[in-house]
């Protein structure tokens, strides 16, 4: 089935659309969100098996031929990312049903959630750089509104920081895209891979690629651009924070993976030393930041940054083993971190606060909750039988 690659894109958009229709025409939003995200997961799984059986799937939008039109591509990595996106979307919908106030829901929480999932799915199947830019914007707009939904003062401040920095990233991205198109005459990633190998590496090309690298580093939340992340993640309701923690920075890491293997390597301009340094500093500074915090959400937000550093380090080594390590770690991190954010929400609900010093003694009354949190946290720390161990022992 040729259109298989479209389903993970159309489904969230359709869900967003249907939940915006007038009340008398639409089904129950919550039920629709649950079923829609479940369907997204199922279709992503189907796509995964289709790719395993028949190889990489592509689709030319509007039937325009490849380097000129918009191409959607999905390989096993894309499909795996789509699966985890569907899973996260489904679980967060389930969690938001119980945890979100009806005011936020009536202001379009679910449509926005669908649009974020839509944008992330788009990034994972985008076949050219400009298409990638558009998906980034889709994510940015939807996540900005999701972040400020509710209009609390703290949220607005966070939203302004978030949108400003990501706006800077968009500017870099667009400039880079323009410069690259000027030099190469194509933006299709597969086409770039072939053409970049034939041109000599020059100063302008390096600058262009640096622009793109900076964009993706901002998106991933790496040093020295990570400050938008701890400023914005802790302010919205915990379900939204969990969604952001699961998907937004990982979108940046995913694109960096693609960028390194498809663009930087063939061009001969490899910023791997630069990336290693950025990754190392990200690891250290993220942890130091987490250390100094007492609010669960802030600790987890800073900790995301540090873990992004690990993934970037894996990418910067440019060996197949390190790359597979980075990918494995990304999946592990998405599940474990989302888990911790959601459990953090439950803890705050039961303990009445996100601050550690006010939460003492919770384990005595809610032992199971503590155990669950412990599992996820130990997995992140890399204790043997849990998934994180595999990452820490190459």
């Amino acid at each position: 089935m040729k259109e298989g690659i479209l389903f993970p894109l159309i489904l969230p958009l359709l869900m967003a659309t249907l939940s915006l229709l007038p009340r008398r025409w639409r089904f129950d939003r919550e039920l629709m969100a649950l079923l829609g995200n479940l369907a997204h997961l199922v279709f992503s799984l189907l796509l995964f098996f289709q790719i395993r059986a028949h190889g990489v799937q592509t689709l030319q939008i509007g039937a325009w031929p490849a380097p000129f039109g918009i191409t959607l591509v999905a390989d096993l990595l894309s499909a795996s990312m789509l699966i985890i996106t569907g899973l996260v979307g489904f679980l967060i919908t389930l969690y938001s049903l119980g945890s979100l106030d009806s005011l936020r829901q009536s202001f379009g929480y679910f449509p926005l959630l669908h649009v974020v999932v839509f944008g992330c799915s788009g990034v994972f199947v985008a076949g050219d750089l400009f298409n990638l830019f558009v998906w980034f914007e889709v994510i940015l707009i939807a996540s900005f509104v999701l972040l400020t939904l509710g209009g609390e003062r703290e949220q607005i401040i966070a939203g302004v920081k978030y949108v400003t920095l990501n706006g800077v990233a968009s500017t870099f991205f667009l400039t880079g895209i323009g410069l690259l198109y000027l030099q190469m005459g194509t933006l299709n990633l597969a086409d770039l891979f072939g053409k970049l190998a034939q041109v000599p590496a020059g100063g302008v090309l390096s600058l262009t690629l640096l622009f793109l690298l900076i964009t993706f580093l901002i998106k991933a939340g790496s040093f020295p651009f990570f400050f938008w992340l701890p400023a914005s993640y802790p302010t919205p309701p915990i379900a939204v924070s969990a969604l952001f923690a699961a998907l937004l920075t990982k979108v940046g890491v995913y694109v960096l993976l693609r960028f390194f293997s498809l663009v930087l390597l063939p061009s001969g301009v490899v910023f791997s030393g630069l990336l290693s340094w950025a990754a190392g500093l990200t690891m250290v500074l993220g942890v130091l930041g987490a250390w100094s915090q007492m609010d669960i959400r802030r600790i987890l937000s800073f900790h995301i940054i540090s873990q992004i550093g690990y993934m970037l380090m894996g990418i910067s080594f440019l060996s197949p083993l390190a790359l597979s390590g980075a990918i494995y770690f990304m999946f592990h991190n998405i599940t474990a971190k989302t888990n911790l954010f959601l459990l953090g929400g439950v803890i705050a609900l039961l303990g009445g606060s996100y601050r550690l010093e006010q939460l003492g003694g919770l384990f005595r009354s809610f032992g199971l909750l503590g155990t669950l949190f412990l599992f996820a946290a130990l997995s992140l720390a890399g204790i043997p039988p849990l998934a994180g161990f595999l990452v820490s022992s190459p």
Binding site: T17, L18, L20, P22, I61, G62
Partner: protein, 138 residues
């Protein structure tokens, strides 16, 4: 809020004029400058003038739906026009044009890109009205 009589009168007579203009700009799109985005902006200007003249209650009753629903309808229309190509097995987003001959009019062609554009028109109008109405009410 001081709803000047002059402003109200202007809004009343400019509304149909601006809406007509926005439709003209919308329909000349595709081959000439214009289209759904700019048409939607002009449509929103018309509604905004009405909002300034008569306040938010009357401006809301001017729109056939809640602005959020306008976005939903617009997206549905755009998605439908993109899927039309898939339905005909020609590929997602493949455009289709149909000749329409109505009695008393010159034959003209209607295509899926126009429906896509109409969707854009509705999304732009809806988004702007959400923003303006919430700013007005604050």
């Amino acid at each position: 809020m001081n709803n000047g009589k002059l402003l109200a009168l202007t809004a009343k007579y400019f509304l149909p004029l601006l809406l007509f203009f926005s439709l003209v700009v919308f329909f000349r799109g595709h081959d000439q400058p214009g289209g759904g985005f700019i048409g939607g902006l002009i449509g929103a200007v018309a509604c905004t003038l009405f909002l300034f003249g008569y306040g938010s209650d009357k401006a809301k009753s001017l729109l056939p739906f809640d602005p959020r629903s306008l976005i939903g309808l617009g997206l549905l229309l755009s998605l439908g026009s993109a899927l039309w190509g898939s339905y005909h097995n020609q590929g997602f987003f493949k455009s289709f044009w149909y000749e329409v001959a109505l009695p008393g009019l010159e034959p003209f062609s209607v295509g899926t890109p126009q429906f896509f554009d109409l969707g854009v028109y509705l999304v732009v109008l809806g988004s702007l009205m959400i923003i303006l109405l919430s700013m007005w009410e604050e």
